[in-house]
């Protein structure tokens, strides 16, 4: 786990910090605070109890510190003693750290106070100690005792970070022209101090710039397997090979902070609970009951079993009445308490090589999991040498090993790929899980480089195949957008662009950013994402410009056309009837069928959907559409009315869907469906379809079978109306039921 740390921030609040320098729109203090808040909130976000922060105001109007009876320590205020900072402290600090009306206050004295705070809190314990001084260096400093301070800092191993507002920094390339003499002198003193105690000295602009580069949280490696890597069976044969190894994660998804669910407390009016920060309900809430008007949301689970005698065919059962088991198909398999382990495939930890495969024939799409690194048992030199020979042999033979791994007792075996890696100071195997037979789905798609036609011919020229021109254009474009040398390394040499270690988890840092921002600035809109997070959302413009001619050529050769939005206004009855492979005219056959051919044909409820669709094929006038819909409506109502529990709902939903889809296609025909839908809702919720049918209405809602919208069909309703239609009812129904 992370160690203890204590950081004291000394923030200069002098009147000069209220100035806006160098054309910046913020005051120097606000600018400096961007850095300070970021650091403090980062610490807060970790939630670590032993990550202490303290804040000392320099050049404050008041004076409040341990030595405040001495003149040298005037205008220095300890705003926050070292300790864990939580929201209340953060809120207080926000009010404390404001520009003062004074210029008095010595930065060196503030340092002394900070050192004392650390000494008093950390004593001789294992702490990572740090003091961060942010100042514009515009007030006089007494530099007499610097030697003592240096040695104290060193003695207690306190790291000193000095960040100056518009301090010169040759390394970063910043120089302020026309600097006043005091500032220049102070800069020199502070620089010297940092050099003496091996601290960090920098200019604020650099620090603020770097806030945009997310920090990656290091994680201590924890082995997921320790034991033998074997080839052969040491239990049975004396020719088996065994090497002591350890396995650590190599990649592991870092997830963004997850939000918890809340609702506004029922005893609160909606307006009262809109402030942005809230106290968690429960133990941590302030004792006086000032809370945020939010109540946590929990998930309650209820269980039902079929029961013929219960209304609706289902009955609630208590969790206590249930026992554990499994589903085998639709059969419940009960497993008694004592048999819990019967389905467990017993294994013991092992790591066995099955054999070796050719690296060049390995298909990367088989990679199934995050990856791990396998090294020899640490401190075991012989194992290290032994593993090294395997790594080198695999490397030289361009091979990978395939192994069976059981990480812990009774964990399921997994097949992993072992790939060698050789670096100057690291030799290891990387492993990735491979799929089992059950994990592969056999989907099939036509080949992409040729077309096999229905008639069995193999074509190489076809509208779905690229011609030579398109192939050439694509090839040229791909080559022109090469990223392998487009980036730059630290030394300014060409390097890979968008390398993985330069990309940051977008949502993780985005959420951190806005949460931290809101904690400090509750009334401000969230800031835009850091540039680095969206940098790879577009092609790098410089390269895209160079590649533009090849892209233009590609676009021309590709001749891609957007499919126009659904061809509107199909005249009913004109749809090309689908035909079987033989192109037999089934329509004609249908026409011969006396029961189906007549325009007033009666839909057989047993074959309702096909016959409804076929009826529409002939429908030529709106009245006929209406008549067809009316027939289907009667059938649907019947199904719902006679449904035992939900037994008829599935068919009804299907029929409603079909009617909706068919009517949406005939563009003038929103009316028949919408009339039907309104009638259905009214009748059903009034209990007109065989009693309580709320479940059926629920299905209509989740299947989104509400009114046809204007966007879907001419004559449809507006989106708001559609939404209101779907949502209004259950409230009313629920109210009626209570």
């Amino acid at each position: 786990m992370a160690g203890k740390e204590a950081t004291v921030y000394i923030v200069d609040c002098g009147s000069t910090m209220g100035e806006k320098s160098h054309g910046r729109s913020q005051t120097n203090l606000d600018w400096a605070l961007e850095y300070v808040w970021d650091k403090i909130t980062t610490t807060v976000a970790t939630g670590r109890k032993m990550a202490f922060a303290g804040v000392v105001g320099l050049r404050t109007d008041g004076t409040e510190n341990l030595l405040d009876n001495e003149d040298d320590y005037a205008h220095i205020t300890v705003f926050q003693e070292l300790g864990q900072v939580l929201m209340p402290q953060l809120r207080k600090l926000r009010q404390d750290l404001v520009v003062s009306g004074t210029d008095g206050g010595d930065a060196i004295s503030a340092l002394v106070i900070a050192i004392q705070m650390i000494v008093a809190t950390c004593k001789k314990l294992q702490f990572q100690r740090r003091i961060v001084l942010v100042t514009d260096g515009r007030s006089a400093m007494q530099a007499d005792d610097l030697g003592d301070i240096t040695s104290k800092l060193k003695e207690d191993s306190i790291e000193l970070v000095v960040l100056g507002v518009d301090f010169d920094d040759a390394e970063y390339g910043f120089k302020e022209e026309g600097k006043d003499a005091t500032k220049a002198e102070n800069e020199a003193i502070l620089r010297q101090l940092c050099d003496d105690c091996s601290g960090v000295y920098g200019t604020l602009v650099q620090a603020v710039d770097e806030l945009g580069v997310p920090r990656v949280k290091p994680t201590k490696p924890v082995p997921s397997y320790r034991g033998m890597l074997t080839l052969g069976n040491p239990e049975e044969y004396d020719t088996a090979l065994a090497i002591d190894v350890e396995r650590y994660p190599r990649t592991m998804k870092a997830n963004p902070a997850s939000a918890s669910k809340f609702v506004i407390r029922s005893d609160m009016a909606a307006g009262e609970a809109t402030q942005s920060t809230h106290t968690i309900d429960g133990e941590e809430a302030a004792p006086n009951g000032t809370n945020d008007g939010l109540a946590a949301v929990k998930t309650a689970r209820t269980y039902q079993v079929d029961d013929e005698n219960a209304p609706g065919g289902k009955r609630d059962v208590d969790r206590d009445e249930l026992s554990k088991g499994y589903e085998y198909g639709r059969t419940a398999v009960h497993i008694s308490e004592s048999d819990q382990n019967v389905t467990l495939y017993e294994t013991s930890p092992s790591f066995d090589i099955l054999g070796f495969v050719n690296k060049n024939q390995y298909e990367r799409y088989l990679d199934m999991s995050r990856s791990n690194v396998i090294v020899a048992q640490r401190t075991n030199d012989k194992a290290s040498m032994a593993l090294s020979s395997l790594i080198h042999a695999l490397y030289e033979l361009e091979s990978y090993a395939v192994a069976r791994l059981v990480m812990k007792q009774n964990k399921e075996p997994r097949i992993v790929l072992l790939a060698p890696n050789i670096e100057p100071d690291l030799e290891c195997l990387y492993d990735l899980e491979l799929p089992f037979a059950e994990d592969m789905r056999s989907y099939r798609f036509p080949p992409l480089d040729r077309v096999v036609t229905v008639s069995g011919k193999v074509l190489t020229v076809h509208r779905n195949l690229p011609n030579d021109d398109l192939q050439d254009a694509m090839s040229e474009y791909v080559d022109s957008m090469d990223l392998s040398t487009f980036g730059q390394d630290d030394a300014g040499q060409p390097a890979e662009y968008g390398a993985m270690d330069e990309t940051y988890s977008i949502m993780l840092h985005r959420i951190n950013q806005v949460v931290k921002h809101r904690a400090v600035y509750p009334d401000t809109d969230p800031p835009p994402p850091y540039e680095v997070l969206t940098r790879y959302s577009q092609q790098p413009s410089e390269l895209a410009n160079t590649a533009h001619p090849s892209l233009s050529r590609l676009i021309q050769a590709a001749d891609v056309k957007k499919v126009p939005p659904k061809a509107r206004g199909r005249r009913y009855g004109r749809k090309d009837a689908p035909k079987p492979l033989s192109e037999l005219d089934v329509g004609a056959l249908l026409a011969q069928d006396s029961k189906r051919s007549s325009k007033q044909a009666c839909i057989d409820p047993k074959n309702a959907i096909p016959e409804f669709k076929q009826l529409l094929q002939h429908a030529e006038e709106l009245p006929q559409l209406r008549a067809a819909c009316a027939q289907l409506k009667a059938i649907i109502f019947d199904w719902i009315r006679h449904s035992v529990g939900d037994s008829g709902y599935g068919r009804a939903v299907e029929a409603i869907r079909v009617m909706r889809e068919e009517m949406a296609e005939v563009s003038v025909a929103a009316a028949p469906y919408n009339e039907f839908m309104r009638e259905l809702k009214g009748t059903m919720l009034d209990g007109g379809l065989g009693g309580e049918r709320r479940e059926m209405w629920y299905r209509v809602r989740v299947n989104r079978l509400g009114l046809l919208l204007a966007g879907e069909c001419d004559g449809g309703v507006s989106e708001e109306e559609g939404r209101a239609f779907l949502s209004a009812a259950p409230v009313a129904a629920a109210a009626a039921a209570q």
């Binding site: 939000a259 669910k261 949301v297 309650a300 020979s389 890696n421 096999v452 690229p466 192939q471 192109e583």
Partner: protein
């Protein structure tokens, strides 16, 4: 350690939440398959040239089809637990339809010579049992599998299937009729009967049921199935009017032959063609815009082809007091407010983040804006050689994308050009990838995958581009510090021989050869329990190494390698002696005192653990502590480290850990 699995679940749920598509739309995304198997005299005739040594080849086509259905049923219980399946025999002497349902007057007489063996539903244990009885018990089969004397009406068969789908699987997104027959020309003499079958087929088409034909030929009788006589009137294709249209792949399955040719029996060929169609091809994402470059968009569909199949989680079972038939309890969740326990509508819920002991909340709109990085897209940023993609750069299974013409005409040819170029030059694309609305954007590598076909020409892996989400800097862990001792050349040479001796067949990993042993065991036990059979005692595990072969092929070389290792290590120790100073914790000293366990002939005696002096106790040390009853004096950290090294659970109080160690030695005693 113990909470890592919980953590994993939470993780998944989080993901799930994001991945559940709101656009799921109208239909239940489930699959229903109804097998319709022809029972005619010719279908019941065993092949003439059967090989008595191979019982597979002795089956009549009907029985082979039933076996195939049986295999599929078992497999789907594992792989698609919520999908439905049913079996309809047609042409039988007996007739049977759905039980009961007097109301609508559906009786057995309505569909003469149609015998509904298993009604369409999620299979129950009883269905599996019944079907197995039929395929394994010849007497039972003989009783039922009798061909009717009069010809069964195909129109009736199809309408019967229609009714089964209509009532049992309403609103399913995928409904398929698997038709197994060797009769390519039913109703040869009656045009009317053929026409009414065509009408009923159209009904099925309008209902959204796909007919998949499994035709059977009899080469031994000089009979080849001809689709054009009848079945082309029954089966529909998506684009029938264009003769140059690419043939749907499902149609390229050749008629299975009733006789074993090339050693492939009818059963095997049926199994493989059913297997290839068993999973309905569900797209993970339909019509994802794929931006090849600014101004050049095409559309693709994404598919999950590889996914870890896990055993089912336990569910709650209700044992009614008055019956011995356990029931599955269906759970449903509702959100309730903590303060008043009133239930909460989804729209009322707000999201807030814990921070500094309080919560930081955002309105729904704000959060949506914060998380919005643009609409779903797969956008190419540029290209890199495949060699720049390190093998470890992976987080989860890849998804396959394949072009679709639905949004952009010409998508396929552009995709094909890109696919061919990337394959040819072994390049990949780097892409900005937002799979669905409000999903976290990721950077992904797009890598080309070639089509792979079996020796028989069956497609095994389709061609396409694979999307591989890459780890961010935050997802990459540092490698642990190691003390590297590089292998001298003679040692590597000795190892190389071993590696060369033990290539897997064709030097590739073929997943099809490795069923998941835990999963198979889980379902075998579950099946035994469900069918009330004896529980099998010996698990079959095809993932175990072939130790005997390894011993035979490489044993000698391993022994040689072990000798070289000993030799080389001694030399290395001598050379490094002067540099190695015993460290304060005595780790170096211990290394010399006890022989390291790396090496050949790693018999039981040699399994001595070495731990870092700081954190470990040796096996010998622990055994001594055990023998002298002094385990309670061992530090908790040491107990934990030692147990972890043994792959034991390391949770609980010290007493639990001591117990675990004691238990370990108690069982090991017997072995030693």
């Amino acid at each position: 350690m113990s909470d890592s699995s919980n953590y994993g679940h939470g993780d998944e749920d989080e993901d799930e939440e994001e991945e559940v598509v709101d656009e799921a739309g109208y239909k239940t995304s489930k699959d229903a398959v109804l097998f319709a198997i022809d029972v005619s005299d010719s279908m019941l005739t065993k092949p003439d040239d059967a090989d008595p040594k191979r019982p597979d080849t002795m089956l009549s086509p009907t029985v082979a089809a039933l076996k195939c259905a049986y295999a599929l049923m078992q497999q789907r219980i594992i792989s698609n637990p919520s999908d439905m399946m049913g079996i309809l025999l047609f042409g039988t002497e007996k007739s049977k339809f759905q039980d009961g349902d007097v109301e609508t007057g559906r009786g057995g007489l309505q569909y003469p010579h149609c015998y509904l063996l298993t009604d369409l539903d999620v299979p129950a244990a009883a269905d599996v049992k019944q079907l197995r009885g039929l395929v394994e018990d010849e007497e039972e089969a003989a009783d039922l599998l009798v061909a009717s004397k009069e010809e069964v009406s195909m129109a009736n068969v199809l309408f019967c299937a229609n009714q089964i789908f209509t009532t049992m699987a309403p609103n399913f997104s995928s409904r398929r009729l698997f038709l197994v027959t060797d009769n390519d020309y039913p109703h040869a003499s009656s045009r009317d009967a053929r026409n009414s079958a065509a009408v009923r087929a159209k009904d099925l088409y309008d209902l959204g049921v796909t007919i998949e034909l499994f035709p059977i030929s009899h080469p031994d009788r000089g009979y080849t199935f001809d689709r054009s006589k009848f079945y082309n009137d029954i089966v529909y294709s998506a684009t029938p009017s264009d003769p140059d249209a690419p043939m749907p792949l499902s149609a390229d399955i050749k008629p299975a032959s009733s006789t074993a040719k090339d050693g492939i029996s009818l059963l095997q060929s049926l199994l493989s063609s059913v297997a290839s169609r068993s999973a309905p091809q569900r797209a993970l994402i339909r019509n994802l815009p794929f931006e090849v470059g600014p101004g050049l968009k095409i559309s693709v569909k994404c598919f999950i082809l590889i996914k870890r199949q896990e055993p089912k989680r336990t569910s709650y079972i209700y044992l009614p007091p008055d019956s011995d038939k356990p029931q599955i309890a269906v759970g449903s969740s509702t959100l309730v407010a903590d303060d008043t326990a009133r239930s909460v509508e989804k729209a009322e819920v707000r999201k807030a983040y814990k921070f500094g002991g309080e919560t930081i909340s955002f309105t729904v709109e704000e959060l949506a804006k914060i998380k919005h990085f643009g609409d779903p897209v797969l956008r190419i940023i540029g290209f890199k050689p495949m060699s720049m993609l390190p093998i470890w750069a992976n987080l989860k299974p890849l998804t396959l994308c394949y072009p679709s013409e639905e949004e952009f005409i010409g998508s396929t040819r552009v995709f094909s050009a890109l696919h061919q170029k990337l394959l040819r030059d072994q390049k990949m694309a780097l892409a900005w990838y937002i799979p669905r609305r409000n999903a976290s954007p990721v950077l992904a590598a797009i890598i080309p995958g070639a089509e792979s076909r079996s020796e028989e020409g069956e497609q095994q892996v389709p061609p396409g581009l694979w999307i591989k989400p890459l780890p961010f800097a935050d997802d990459i862990r540092q490698t642990p510090e190691t003390n590297l001792v590089p292998a001298p050349d003679p040692l590597t040479d000795a190892m190389r021989v071993i590696v060369q001796q033990l290539q897997l067949p064709k030097a590739i990993y073929d997943p099809r050869k490795y069923p998941n042993p835990s999963l198979q065991w889980f379902y075998r036990i579950l099946q035994a329990l469900a069918l009330e059979e004896d529980i099998p005692s010996v698990p079959e595990d095809k993932t175990l190494p072939r130790w005997k072969q390894i011993h035979k092929r490489a044993g000698g070389y391993v022994v040689e390698w072990g000798q070289v290792l000993d030799e080389q290590f001694r030399m290395w120790q001598r050379d490094n002696e002067k540099h190695v100073k015993p460290t304060t914790n005595g780790a170096a000293k211990r290394t010399k005192a006890e022989p390291p366990s790396a090496g050949a002939g790693g018999g039981k005696a040699k399994k001595v653990k070495h731990e870092d002096g700081e954190e470990g106790v040796t096996d010998a040390g622990m055994r001594e502590a055990y023998a002298t009853d002094a385990l309670s004096k061992v530090l908790v950290a040491d107990l934990k480290a030692w147990l972890q090294g043994k792959g034991q659970k390391v949770v609980g109080k010290k007493a639990d850990l001591v117990d675990a160690v004691t238990k370990y030695f108690e069982t090991k005693m017997d072995v030693d």
